[in-house]
Amino acid sequence: MSLLFNDEQDALHDAVRRFVEQHSPMTKVREVIGSDASFDPTVWRRLTDDLGLAGLAIPVEYGGAGATLADVSAAYRPLGAGLVPSPLLASAVLAAGLLLALDDEAAKKEWLPQLAAGELIGSVAISEPGNRSWVPAELSTRAVATAEGSRLTGTKVAVLNGADADVLLVIASGDQGAGVHLVRRDAEGLTVTATKGVDLVRGVATVTMQDTPATPLSGDGLAALDKTLDLVNVVVASEQVGAMERLLELTATYAKERYSFGQPIGAYQGVKHPVANMFTSLSLVDASLRETVEEGQDDVRAAAAATRVLANQAYVVASRDTMLMHGGIGFTWEHDAHLYAKNAMADNVLFGTTEEQLDRLAATVLD
């Protein structure tokens, strides 16, 4: 048991870091942002084929690499640092995680190998208009059982890479309670509209279904979603830590180089202290994340939620302070700070806000 990376994690982390430098520098990220697409297909191909990241968290029996949580965490840190736009979170984490957590062996055998190979993009449709919870307590999307499977009617918002997904796992309420239903891209009555979300590096879409044919998956939908959130929390926190490391580097460098009133601005405590706070809060989140993914743990629910609670706030503040410490320059479109600030905001509200993470944590440690 250790909080330090082992050699494998070091290697994985470095490989992804080098990949990001070479194949997805910020110029490439800005190309994607300026285009209609939500990611670059070549980068996606390389992420899946060269690095095998789409299958990293998927067990070997379903075509994945069966990596440990610590490996997964090490791999996603540099992706967060580089704000690499890709459907990994939607497909390889959310969709694959939900499938794994369900109880539908046939569906796993059919879909997981394709998701693991990156041949297919999946996503999960959960949140609904008029509800501030990631998973609405009362789902307005309804599923009706039919002879062929089910038919769905309702609207889902903030669906990650919704417009890119070949298959959507939709959570809907039916006569038997909430369940997960698989919808194919070409299903009738399905409308997917890419929306301008706050985050420029994560594609989102609004999905409407009108009597849309679907395949109900067996297993307790809500419980599976709940379990999936542990993996999501680890992956998002890893990206957040990577991003904060980059922000700290940007800000500390600027504080040394930019002069004001005849001195580097980093000589003023008004700059120096926020930068020191950034280091400290990053250090705490980093340590909390390391402990969350430490080997030999059965249940990471509390630790992962606790890490997200801290990471959300620390990343929002770090990206905001990066803008503030850079002064006017940091507020320009040209500077990268706002890209991180927008990413931080999205992380802060998707997959359960900080308040929901606190409720999740409280349910684990208080009851």
Binding site: R132, V157, R258, G270
Partner: protein
């Protein structure tokens, strides 16, 4: 005219000519509409209320100005393009300009004929405005200006600008600066919009390439431009402080409570507390602005306390930008078209905390000038400008 009569007259005119605050979409007035409105306002005796009559004003007192402001708060006035000119260059010219300069410009400014901008900030300077590098060199008939300004609001539609430039690089930084009136239509002036984090371009970069100005374009005295700038920056903070409501109105309690209510979110105790806290903060910020205004109009010197109003407004904006995320949850990131304004408002918060002096600079001003704490150890105050380290 008794004050109540003046108030009634203002109210009646506004009701006949301006849109109510809640209804107007305040971001879509055309420049021509703005000019027409300002002219009509002036014709009605409601612009330049406290200005002397000889410079186009109404020659009335602070009481009339307060009455007008109170009535105007209920309306969306399309006077945006004039806010800077009337709030910053105009009072500076009133205080330091020659009689000829005042007669020539002030009446046109107040009647909507001339739009002005303010050209202070430079890329390398930031909050250290006095470190400016734009130069003005003497010529036979006046001066020639070269350099770059940035963060200039309204430069694209301004007729004139008040610019500060370095006229003596061998003097210490505050002592070799002069302020000029510059014609923004001069062919050597290039205005380029500056895109910011929100995706909008509310500011400009302005390039000066051998722009000649006549000798009588100097505002105040040669090499005393820093003193003129201090007057103008003080007016800037008052202007920014006073404009709090319309600036952040997409993040106001009223707007957010409505948006949350429409989405059924205001039953949630946590959302309710956040909105209530916003109400309390917003209210106190407005009340503080009002208090400063009442003090100033009662002849109680408010000194640099305007910096606290500016800081409070910026901090409220930053706080709200974070609070709205929790209020709307995933809807905040969903691209909900009705929340686009909220998201943009939130993204604008760091800009608000930077423009007109960063929060750190405001804190310094409050501590030093209001509370009398010692100044930062200034290493560059007395050095000749051309010997100061810039690091870039």
């Amino acid at each position: 005219m008794p004050i109540d009569e003046f108030r009634a007259k203002a109210r009646a005119w506004l009701e006949a000519n301006a849109k109510p605050y809640d209804e107007a979409d305040e971001y879509h007035f055309s420049l021509e509409e703005s000019k027409r409105f300002q002219k009509a306002l002036w014709d009605a005796g409601l612009a330049g209320i406290t200005w002397p009559k000889e410079y186009g004003g109404q020659g009335l007192g602070a009481a009339e100005q307060v009455a007008f402001n109170q009535e105007a708060a209920d309306f969306a006035l399309p006077t945006g393009p004039f806010v800077i000119g009337l709030g910053m260059p105009a009072p500076t010219i009133m205080e330091l300009g020659t009689e000829e300069m005042k007669k020539r410009h002030l009446p046109k400014m107040v009647s909507g004929e001339e739009i002005w901008c303010q050209l202070f900030s430079e890329p390398s300077g930031g909050s250290d405005v006095a470190s400016l590098r734009t130069t003005a060199k003497r010529t036979e008939n006046g001066w020639v200006i070269n350099g770059q300004k940035v963060w200039t609001t309204g430069a694209q539609f301004s007729d004139f600008g008040a610019i500060i430039a370095r006229t003596d690089p061998e003097a210490p930084k505050h002592q070799g600066i002069t302020m000029f009136v510059v014609d923004m239509h001069h062919p050597g002036v290039t205005v380029r919009p500056l895109k910011v984090a929100t995706g909008d371009s509310p500011f400009n970069e302005v390039f000066f390439d051998d722009v000649e100005v006549p000798a009588d374009a100097v505002i105040g005295e040669v090499n005393r431009g820093w003193q003129a700038s201090v007057i103008m920056l003080r007016n800037e903070r008052v202007t920014i402080g006073a404009s709090g409501r319309s600036r952040a109105s997409v993040l106001s309690f009223e707007t957010l409570a409505d948006l949350a209510g429409e989405r059924g979110l205001t039953e949630d105790p946590s959302v309710r507390r956040t909105l209530a806290e916003l109400y309390a903060k917003e209210n106190s910020t407005r009340a503080f602005g009002r208090l400063l205004h009442e003090r100033a109009t009662s002849g109680i010197p408010i000194g640099a306390a305007g910096s606290a109003a500016k800081l409070a407004g910026a901090e409220l904006h930053l706080w709200t930008a974070e609070a709205v995320q929790e209020v709307f949850g995933p809807l905040y990131a969903s691209g909900d078209p009705e929340l686009v304004g909220v998201v943009k408002g939130a993204l604008g918060a760091p800009g608000n905390a930077t423009a007109g002096g960063t929060n750190e600079i405001q804190r310094n001003i409050i501590a030093e000038r209001v509370l009398g704490l010692p100044k930062d150890p200034g290493v560059d105050r007395n050095l000749p400008f051309n010997q100061i380290r810039f690091g870039n």
